[in-house]
């Protein structure tokens, strides 16, 4: 029920009401409302109960196992929240002069340095406010680099067919044509096909490594050499950085630009609108184009580097310096984890994924790439079960909700039919992983015995199966008084 539907004319939260109605002499008459806004008229207690009930319906990493593949839904340590919310940080005005912001700037500078070190890049800008904006900044820098050299003939970005949909979308946003590279049956990029399409029109390639198929791209050095020899640049999508953190560095693989999803790898809050943070790192040749502001250190003093300091910068991506509160949380997390901790993240996230994959195979499920070791995530395909029992991957996913687990990513990557992309992360213990495998086994057994029960799931949540087809076809986002509900 919407809070609007609880509205009763004249009901108010008296204790919260302003002392007077307020007058706004500075606002021109033409911009003032003619009628009061159609707000719900409810009591204070109704508001508290309404939002508390809603919050109890959350499925979140704080309440449930959340193995959403390619999303790295790991625990967000409370310590990072506490420190990022110190009064000095919370009260700092974004326009405060650098002399009053030395502590904050020092944290941002150190975070730049930590990200440089762990990704092997030459310089980092923290300003992109999300992964998609980081991608945009990355490809905009590739374009700026070619343009600065007068190399205007480069019109194509290469993207493997296993890529996140954001990659081709970003390339198109930056004015490039997308050329898809096929994937081999073993999960690697088809290097021979790549050879065939690479040329003087190639601006760059966008790769995720490990790929969205949950396997490491084994011929990455060869791919990097090919792209560089043709004059193109390599973009690293940081979606799966968790798998290699502290072990292998994209800079060492030959990448020229990378975005890091701090809300994934560096454990800042994720989902439900974030906000995210997608810092970008670059190799030597792209340093002049980094988005501003950056933080510089002169001796013991820190200062912003702005447009006048970086005349070739692609510019600003937001009014201030990115999502400061998120960057602070990531900084605290990185400092808590430390260099050794980062390597342990890669080890345990890969161990957990491989353990789960092995256990699920024992329980009768098919791995999409059984010959390959999983990275930090893996794919199982329910194609066989779907054919035989008429129970789809979506049905399994919905039934998992009844078992108290957030469903893994479904039907992505598109290359694998009836797939679940499962990413346990390093923060889950063995009992939780075993619980998931057990739930899958129970659902499989149920699908044999009573497939209807699985097809009708979920049964125990506040809402049953939603009609997502009707929702997409008859999109209706605005509540109106008197609308049928």
């Amino acid at each position: 029920m919407l809070i609007f539907e609880q509205s009763m004319p004249g009901r108010r939260a008296v204790a919260q009401a302003p002392l007077d109605e307020g007058a706004f002499p500075d606002i021109p008459e033409a911009f003032l409302r003619q009628r009061p806004a159609a707000l719900p008229e409810v009591s204070e207690m109704q508001v508290v109960r309404h939002y508390t009930r809603l919050s109890q319906k959350n499925f979140s990493i704080d309440t449930q196992f959340y193995p959403l593949g390619s999303c790295t839904m790991k625990y967000n340590p409370r310590g990072a929240n506490t420190l990022a919310m110190l009064p000095g940080f919370l009260s700092r005005h974004p326009e405060a002069p650098p002399s009053h912001s030395q502590g904050f700037l020092a944290c941002m500078h150190e975070l730049q340095e930590i990200l440089k070190e762990v990704t092997g890049m030459r310089a980092v800008s923290l300003s992109p406010a999300a992964g998609a904006q980081g991608e945009f900044a990355g490809v905009a820098m590739i374009r700026a680099y070619h343009d600065a050299r007068g190399d205007h003939a480069r019109s194509e970005i290469l993207v493997p067919d296993a890529a996140h949909g954001t990659n081709p979308a970003t390339a198109v946003m930056c004015g490039y044509k997308v050329r898809e590279i096929p994937t081999r049956r073993d999960g690697d990029v088809d290097v021979e096909a790549l050879r065939g399409v690479i040329g003087p029109q190639t601006a760059g390639i966008m790769l995720t490594n490990p790929s969205t198929l949950g396997v490491f791209e084994r011929r990455i050095e060869e791919i990097a050499a090919l792209v560089h020899a043709a004059g193109g640049l390599l973009y690293y999508d940081g979606a799966n950085l968790n798998a290699i953190l502290g072990k292998v560095r994209p800079g060492d693989m030959g990448f020229d630009v990378i975005h890091v999803n701090l809300h994934k790898t560096f454990s800042t809050p994720h989902g439900g609108g974030g906000p995210g943070a997608g810092p970008v790192g670059v190799s030597e040749r792209l340093v002049p184009y980094l988005p501003v502001p950056l933080v510089a250190r002169d001796g013991d003093a820190y200062r912003w580097l702005l447009e006048e300091d970086c005349p070739e910068s692609i510019g600003r991506l937001s009014a201030f310096a990115g999502n400061a509160g998120v960057l602070l949380r990531a900084y605290v997390y990185a400092r808590m984890i430390g260099r050794e901790g980062m390597a342990r993240i890669a080890e345990y996230s890969a161990l957990n994924a491989n353990y789960m994959q092995a256990q699920l195979r024992k329980a009768g499920f098919d791995a999409a790439y059984p010959a390959r070791r999983a990275s930090h995530e893996f794919i199982i395909t329910l194609r066989r079960q779907a054919k035989r029992l008429g129970v789809s991957t979506m049905d399994f996913a919905k039934r998992l909700l009844d078992h108290g687990v957030h469903a893994p990513t479904t039907y992505f990557p598109l290359l694998v039919p009836e797939c679940l992309l499962i990413e346990p992360t390093e923060t889950e213990d063995k009992a939780t992983l075993d619980g998931f495998v057990e739930a899958m086994a129970v659902i499989l057994e149920e699908a044999e015995r009573d497939p209807e029960r699985v097809r009708d799931a979920p049964h125990t949540l506040p809402v049953r199966r939603l009609d997502d087809v009707r929702a997409a076809r008859e999109l209706d986002l605005a509540w109106r008084p008197g609308a049928d509900t």
């Binding site: 479904t410 039907y411 598109l414 087809v469 997409a472 076809r473």
Partner: protein, 129 residues
Amino acid sequence: MSNLPTELKYARSHEWVRAEGGDLVSVGISDHAQELLGDLVFVELPEVGAGVDAGSECAVVESVKAASDVYSPVTGEVVEVNEALADAPETINDSPYEDGWMFKVRLSDPAELEGLLDAAAYSEVIESE
């Protein structure tokens, strides 16, 4: 098992082609393709008059599961599109080979049809996936 009319030609990328007489063909997606995609909620069609190359992207079908490019199986000029799909994308689910046709192409080279798969060969492609 999905329905595969034997009078049609098929592409590996799951489109079908029907010879409509002369150098005209109609194109749609196979029953297997619509089944994999699930309930369609959006269809984007090519422009009438547009030139298409065999293997090039020329339309988009979107379901609640996925958005997928549709590739033209043939080379030529688009002469008609199925406007009714804009308001009723589910037609492709209900009738992939008849009412759910997507666009018609005037072929540059009618011999191109011989390079496409027949129902038996396409059936093997589906099985091997």
